[in-house]
Amino acid sequence: MSDREKILGRIREALAVPAPPPGHAQEGREHPASQARRWLPAVGESFDEQIALFRANAKDLKADFHLLANHDDLAPRLRQLSQAEGWKRVAGHRGELSRVACDALNLPVLFTDQSYDPPALEACDVGITECDALIAQTGSVLVTSRSAGGRAASVLPPHHVVIACRDQLLPDLPAAFDLVKRKYQPNYPSFISLITGPSRTGDIERILVLGAHGPKKLTVFCF
């Protein structure tokens, strides 16, 4: 008998004795977590409320959030940021928005949506990516290996810049997982991540430090 069969056999044997349901379980309630929206932190219904919540969460997380008037604002804002931080090399991918963003900078660009040299990515000052969604409830950015130029572009460089548009704003986490399912099922990307603020640690005396291993800065441009 294989280990697989042995373990599954032990599980079936163990489950022959039923356990009492937890707490005050309601009989026959299926998929209890599907109603999570009723218990999670509240989110307003209008776009303005949601964008305000995203902004407040981003501030709390020490991420930079910029709501732009329109798409034309993006290039000058990026150039400004590039000059202020002295970017020399940029990583990006060939998405519609990230492509435009990278082109606006007049800097050498490493594209990560085809195989690339990892040390070259490590040497980049910034990773500019698109995303699947922004989540108001938590101030998170939803990315996948398909939407954000692979697994590493959004975590290896010291600064991650996200380009999003207004209609990518989602109210909450249930909506985010719903989107993942609707958009990708059954052919999911091999990597899906909710990025909530820049990389952080509190491992030394519980004092917050940004940029533990991933980006020290996270900037979100939304137009």
Partner: protein, 464 residues
């Protein structure tokens, strides 16, 4: 003398009297409580969320065989190689074998308690593989050749000064008392390791059956780099990590963040559903998932305590436990410390050797109240005590209680006993706490209350 129980008592005696340690733990956990309460208050209904989380885990465990098969077939369909390990030795063998076959000599590891449980690092090192922990706290305790102090905060027992000394000694960095500079020293030391490592090893916080993905929750980005850079990725996953549906994460991720570290959501919550897929530019060429039983099925077979497998390892029960806060994480001598460790360790490593952990509890129930998945922790501690006594009765103790029962059941016997106790007490004071004191186990650290001059009946009759 070196039984786990005497180790616990000896360690506890030293640690509870260490003022520096007390200060460090109280400060850290005090901060934790404030932010955790703020996050809990942001929920529209925290208790309903706990109930739903408990029911979800209950459902997952009740159909564990089906969900595991679904999880595995979805993973395999997208090119992941899945291994089943009945015990710790077989898990170690599988992982060492994968690395040996691919001639992998260096491993970067992201935080995983399950790997601690099977002592993976030691096995890899003795097979000639170099292992580097990438989580900052784990990296620090690895440099100290120490076990993690806490499920979530591995280096919580150290001051920045001690960490600076450690880095100076081991990494030859300049001394500093800035946590930020210390973090940057570790960041620089580890950066090149990600690029050079032959393999990355991770754990998993959840295993999503519906879509065949593992979920990893972290703040630093070290697990993301571990899963992005090396060509080979191995994830060690306990079979109890199963969640039925993808949307269950919408509930579990914010709850884990809230009780784990007082965050609305942890920095990175990532799902991995396979190796690099066609058309993808990076990620490992090979992805292995090792499913570990290691006596989890024995705990599953105990219907009374089955809910202990709900545990999402948030550490909330440790943080509120008066015992943990006094004796500290290392005293337990176990991979999983605090109330959840005291409940499950006897199942994972033997009841008689680890029953003392269930006695190290005030039964205050703070752990049960803190648990986001409603594990009935303090009752399980009582059940462990009962099971231990039933399995190996202590005759002398039973006899003692029997005699006590007879005395209190007969008022005239009780009166005689009280008379002798009153008469003997002044003499007891002469040798209280000394070697010949029969009540030494008590009087060592406590006062023996004086025998009452009058009994309740007498007091009642003569009350004014």
């Amino acid at each position: 003398m070196n039984s786990p129980a005497s180790q616990f008592t000896g360690h506890a005696r030293t640690v509870t009297r260490d003022l520096r340690h007390r200060h460090l733990i109280q400060t850290a956990l005090g901060k934790y409580e404030i932010i955790r309460d703020r996050r809990k208050a942001a929920f529209q209904d925290w208790n309903a969320a706990r109930q739903a989380a408990a029911e979800t885990k209950y459902e997952a465990l009740n159909h564990l065989d089906q969900y595991l098969e679904e999880f595995v077939s979805k993973l395999e369909a997208r090119g992941t190689i899945v291994h089943w390990a009945g015990d710790a030795a077989s898990a170690r063998e599988i992982i060492v074998g994968i690395l040996r076959d691919r001639n992998a000599r260096s491993v970067i590891k992201s935080k995983t308690m399950t790997a601690e449980e099977i002592h993976l690092t030691e096995a890899l090192e003795s097979a000639g593989v170099s292992v580097v922990e990438s989580d900052l706290g784990e990296f620090i305790v690895q440099l100290r050749r120490e076990a993690p102090y806490h499920l979530v905060f591995p280096a919580m027992h150290l001051t920045r000064g001690e960490i600076s000394d450690l880095f100076t000694r081991e990494l030859h960095s300049a001394p500093t008392d800035s946590p930020e500079e210390l973090t940057m020293i570790a960041r620089r030391a580890l950066r090149q390791k990600y690029l050079a490592a032959d393999a990355g090893i991770t754990g998993a916080n959840f295993a999503v059956a519906e879509t065949g993905m593992i979920a990893i929750t972290e703040n630093e980005g070290n697990a993301r780099l571990t899963a992005a850079m090396p060509k080979l990725m191995i994830s060690l996953v306990g079979i109890e990590k199963i969640l039925p549906r993808l949307e269950d994460l919408a509930l579990f991720l914010p709850m884990l963040a809230t009780t784990g570290a007082g965050q609305a959501l942890t920095g990175y919550n990532s799902l991995y559903g396979g190796p690099r897929q066609p058309g993808e530019s990076d990620g490992p060429e090979e992805f292995h998932v090792v499913l570990l039983d290691n006596r989890r099925t024995e705990l599953l077979a105990d219907a009374e305590q089955r809910d202990a497998l709900h545990c999402i390892r948030c550490g909330a029960c440790l943080n509120v436990c008066p015992i943990f806060r006094n004796v500290g994480g290392h005293t337990y001598g176990t991979t999983y410390s605090g109330p959840i460790g005291s409940v499950i360790t006897p199942h994972l490593r033997g009841l008689q050797d680890w029953k003392h952990l269930s006695a190290a509890s005030s039964l205050c129930g703070a752990c049960t109240e803190a648990c986001p998945v409603k594990i009935d922790l303090h009752h399980h501690l009582l059940q462990n005590r009962r099971n231990a006594a039933r399995q190996k009765p202590r005759r002398l103790e039973q006899l003692g209680w029997k005699i006590f029962g007879v005395i209190v059941g007969h008022p005239w016997l009780y009166a005689i006993a009280r008379f002798f106790a009153l008469a003997a007490q002044p003499f007891h004071a002469l040798f209280t706490g000394s070697r010949v004191d029969p009540a030494r186990a008590w009087t060592n650290s406590r006062d023996l209350p004086p025998v009452a001059r009058q009994n309740f009946k007498h007091w009642w009759r003569h009350r004014s």
